[in-house]
């Protein structure tokens, strides 16, 4: 199998324009003949649903939450990048493109990333027009701040709630289209499977989470905007319900899953405090603009009150190791440095799994009032969770799983290898390579939904005139019966252990063996253990209650069942990628200073995995990464 990424010809900075000039367009009169299914209502899903409906398509949008406004994009705190150069600090589309490619450790597709940087400016215009209340300066113009991996201020923000405001903007557009009847919204409805008819994605199977009813929906194309798979780690900054099921079900129907081992560990989260914990809470990376990260130089000082540790006895390890970026080094590098410090026994707080994020200098320089204005809600949140006042005592932070760069393989049109199946936002693999820079996830979600798919979808749809799928096609009934049988199978296990046990056990395995540091030996061990755990799940799961009604344990069981298969694929991908790059750190491959050692000679490709049946080894399909513009270099933030 070979993959055609359909990258337009011509110089890099003209590709998107060339594409748009030649793109196949569906006329307004024809748009209303096409039915689209959009799964997910986060930034990617809501923006796509609103825009495509506005263009005239008939849209059905599905989300598992009780309202589209609650998708997990809402929790993004820090901001959204755009190459506006409003700060006159030398930013440009090329610079944003280059920072993103470099940030991804040269494992993303050049043409996609350049397009992302190009449309970034329109996103800000669009959001302001919708009424997103971005932070402003006294003169009335938009304010910016810096984020990791950049030397310019290009991040737009709305207090510490940028994701919320951007999502509510997209949700308002979606609500408008629901009101006009152009979108039919299905909240509390979860996708269980993809319906493939004659090789094309033509529908989905869903379960109504209120009544338990399982049914099918047919359409001319299916768009998955279902987010990432961070919850495979159990403890992550993701919401409780975030899951891999939609994309993993599509994988089992033939869609290729690309780079599943690329996961992002965010450096600034509140450390784990006990095994009762259900999630980890992120403290926005923006805090690193003013906070300084340190641990004691000597192990003996770790238990002391930080205020009593003299300046000379502190190790500001990011400033020491990466002087030009300092505390704003990219996420993978900052996380790994924190782990190293803790591994050396210099961590602080319970279990020694934490480092200090100290605002004392910033408070001295700017005054507490300014810090309150900038980060007040984050300090409040920190105090609420830990019971500590970060104005008086440094915060304790530790890395946690936050984002997943891998996802379903898509071409330049955001279409997977299954014709008709399009994948947007975090659910696809395309733009962040092996590590995502801060404030780029919101940018990508909205770019895909507002400004990419509305142009690229026509490439597929124009081939589908007069090919309306028959909802009575046997593929629908067959997929429906398979989904029903799977739910029944879960209920029939009648074992002794709750879903939570399996999810936690899997999460620990993945964190230990496929987290911040991975090794060949460890990954092989993990694969064996995951297989055992999966077998235990299918023989000893205990589920109570009725499948015909609200049953959250049943919902979770279905998701955990998929994570138990997916986790193995993730470890396999990590094993096969025998190099270090970005968030994927193989202990066998590091420089003498402990930095990730890439191997461009052998691994400058996308690993796309093809399902070949349960129990069979999936097939690895490689898409070579060809760089026309940038020169591969060792990523340095020193």
């Amino acid at each position: 199998m070979t993959l055609d990424s359909k990258i337009p010809p011509g110089p890099l900075d003209k590709k998107w324009t060339t594409f748009k000039n030649n793109a196949k367009i569906v006329s307004p009169a024809n748009k209303r003949k096409f039915d689209l299914i959009i799964v997910g209502s986060g930034l990617a899903g809501a923006s796509a649903a609103a825009t495509l409906a506005e263009q005239g398509y008939n849209v059905k949008c599905f989300c598992y939450q009780d309202s589209p406004r609650r998708a997990h994009s809402i929790a993004a705190q820090g901001g959204i990048n755009a190459a506006k150069n409003y700060q006159n600090d030398g930013d440009s589309v090329y610079r944003l493109f280059y920072d993103t490619i470099k940030g991804g450790d040269f494992r993303a597709r050049e043409a996609n990333v350049h397009r992302l940087a190009e449309v970034s400016t329109s996103i800000i215009d669009q959001c302001v027009a919708q009424g997103v209340p971005f932070a402003r300066e006294y003169g009335g113009l938009l304010d910016n701040r810096s984020f990791g991996g950049a030397q310019v201020s290009r991040t737009f923000y709305a207090r510490g709630q940028t994701g919320q405001q951007l999502l509510l903007g997209a949700y308002s557009g979606l609500s408008h289209q629901i009101a006009t009847g152009a979108v039919k919204m299905f909240p509390k409805t979860e996708m269980l499977d993809l319906v493939v008819v004659d090789g094309h994605a033509k529908g989905i199977v869903v379960r109504d989470l209120k009544t338990g009813e399982i049914s099918t929906h047919a359409a001319d194309a299916v768009l998955l905007c279902t987010g990432g798979y961070g919850n495979v780690f159990y403890l992550s900054t993701n919401a409780r319900g975030c899951n891999v099921s939609a994309t993993f079900r599509a994988y089992k129907r033939g869609a290729l899953f690309a780079n599943p081992c690329y996961t992002q560990i965010h450096p600034t989260c509140i450390p784990v405090s006990g095994d009762y914990q259900s999630k980890l809470t992120l403290m926005s990376e923006s805090l690193r603009n003013d906070g300084r990260i340190w641990v004691p130089k000597r192990k003996e000082d770790c238990g002391k009150d930080p205020a009593t540790i003299a300046e000379a006895d502190r190790d500001y390890f990011l400033e020491r190791k990466y002087p030009s970026y300092g505390n704003l080094a990219p996420r993978d590098i900052s996380s790994r440095s924190a782990k190293e410090a803790c591994d050396e026994g210099r961590g602080v707080g319970p279990g020694g799994l934490g480092v200090y994020l100290d605002f004392a200098d910033a408070i001295k320089r700017l005054g507490q009032k300014t810090i309150e204005e900038r980060y007040g809600n984050l300090f409040e949140m920190y105090q609420n969770i830990t019971g500590e006042n970060a104005y008086e005592r440094p915060m304790r932070i530790y890395p946690a799983v936050h984002y997943t760069m891998g996802g379903l393989w898509v071409d330049y049109n955001l279409m997977s290898n299954i014709p008709g199946l399009h994948v947007l936002g975090e659910a696809n693999f395309s733009d962040h390579g092996a590590n995502r820079l801060g404030a780029s996830a919101l940018m990508q979600g909205l770019a895909d939904g507002y400004f990419v798919i509305p142009y690229t979808l026509g490439e597929y749809l124009t081939s589908q005139f007069g090919k309306k799928v028959d909802p009575k096609h046997p593929a629908f009934e067959q997929t429906l019966q398979e989904s029903k049988a799977r739910v029944q199978k879960l209920i029939n296990i009648k074992g002794t252990k709750p879903v939570d046990y399996f999810h936690r056990s899997l999460g620990l395995l993945i964190w230990d063996y496929c987290g911040m540091a991975r090794s060949s030996e460890g990954l092989k061990e993990a694969i064996g253990k995951i297989q055992q755990l999966r077998a235990e799940f299918w023989s000893d799961l205990k589920l109570l209650g009725d499948p015909n009604g609200i049953n959250m344990e049943l919902e979770r069981a279905g998701r955990v069942a998929d994570f138990l298969e997916f986790g193995e694929l993730m470890c396999l991908d990590a094993l096969v990628r025998d190099e270090s790059c970005g968030g994927h750190f193989r202990t066998e491959h590091q420089t003498p200073e402990g930095e990730a050692l890439r191997n461009d000679q052998d691994f400058a490709f996308v690993s796309a995995w093809q399902y070949t049946g349960d129990g069979n080894m999936p097939n690895l399909v490689k898409e070579p990464l060809v760089y026309e513009q940038v020169k591969l270099s060792t990523r340095s933030y020193k």
Partner: protein
């Protein structure tokens, strides 16, 4: 810590509900209220009792999914959502009563889960600015004073959880509706549709069965996003002005 729980159990919207009593044992003080319920549910499952159904998602106070009435107060005592309420705030051995959000417009679906889709329909009635993707002018072409932008943000911070309506003796959603009306009405981009927005959102709110505001201010006291009740007065003024225009036959 140990707690004695009284939890509302209800099979579905039409079935009658009752308070069932359970023990929550060995709960760490650092656990959140929802993590406490997770522990109780694991215990119930072991005892072959169906787990308590309750809504939650982000568990960091922003998505607005969690929604419990704890000892009579939506989201419990103190500012913040239920997911951000920590057990260290309770007394060891305390009896805690847990009910769903109570408002006519939020029917109970099961146990502690309510249907809050009325809020979505209120937004659909006009809680948006009509603009076409791709048609926006440059973001800096319309300067907006920092004061106005900050105030709009105060209003836009609403998380749509419904605690305001659940706390109100009239089951009024006016804090929620006024937050959106204020957010969009303050910004220059939202002005062209200001009148029709407030009229149709308020009418939809009435149609959903939410009550009127009688200045009780319970909404403000429980709002996890700190939305001030002053916005209700602002909405009333906008509504009055818009309905006068409509009454004398001016187009809105």
């Amino acid at each position: 810590m140990n707690f004695h729980l009284k939890v509302w159990r209800q099979k579905d919207t039409n079935a009658p509900g009752t308070l069932e009593e359970y023990e929550a044992e060995n709960i760490p003080a650092g656990a959140s209220f929802l993590e406490m319920l997770d522990i109780v549910n694991a215990d119930l499952t072991r005892k072959n009792i169906e787990p308590i159904q309750f809504d939650s998602d982000c568990r960091e106070g922003i998505c607005g999914t969690c929604s419990l009435t704890i000892n009579g107060i939506p989201h419990g005592k103190g500012r913040g959502t239920t997911c951000q309420l920590y057990m260290r705030k309770f007394q060891d051995g305390e009896t805690i009563t847990i009910e769903p959000f109570r408002a006519d417009a939020f029917p109970v679906q099961r146990d502690l889960v309510t249907n809050r889709s009325a809020f979505d329909r209120v937004i659909q009635a006009g809680g948006y600015i009509s603009e076409r993707t791709g048609s926006a002018p440059d973001a800096n072409s319309v300067p907006i004073s920092k004061v106005i932008a900050d105030q709009a943000m105060d209003a836009a911070a609403c998380i749509g959880c419904g605690a305001c309506a659940a706390a109100c003796p009239n089951g009024s959603a006016m804090l929620f509706v006024s937050a959106k009306v204020t957010h969009l009405g303050l910004l220059p981009q939202g002005k062209p549709e200001k009148n029709r927005r407030v009229l149709s959102m308020v009418r939809q709110m009435d149609e959903e069965g939410f009550g009127n505001c009688s200045n009780y201010y319970a909404c403000e006291a429980v709002c996890p996003a700190g939305v001030p009740a002053a916005f209700i007065g602002r909405m009333n003024r906008e509504f009055t002005a818009a309905s006068m225009k409509e009454m004398v036959g001016m187009s809105v």
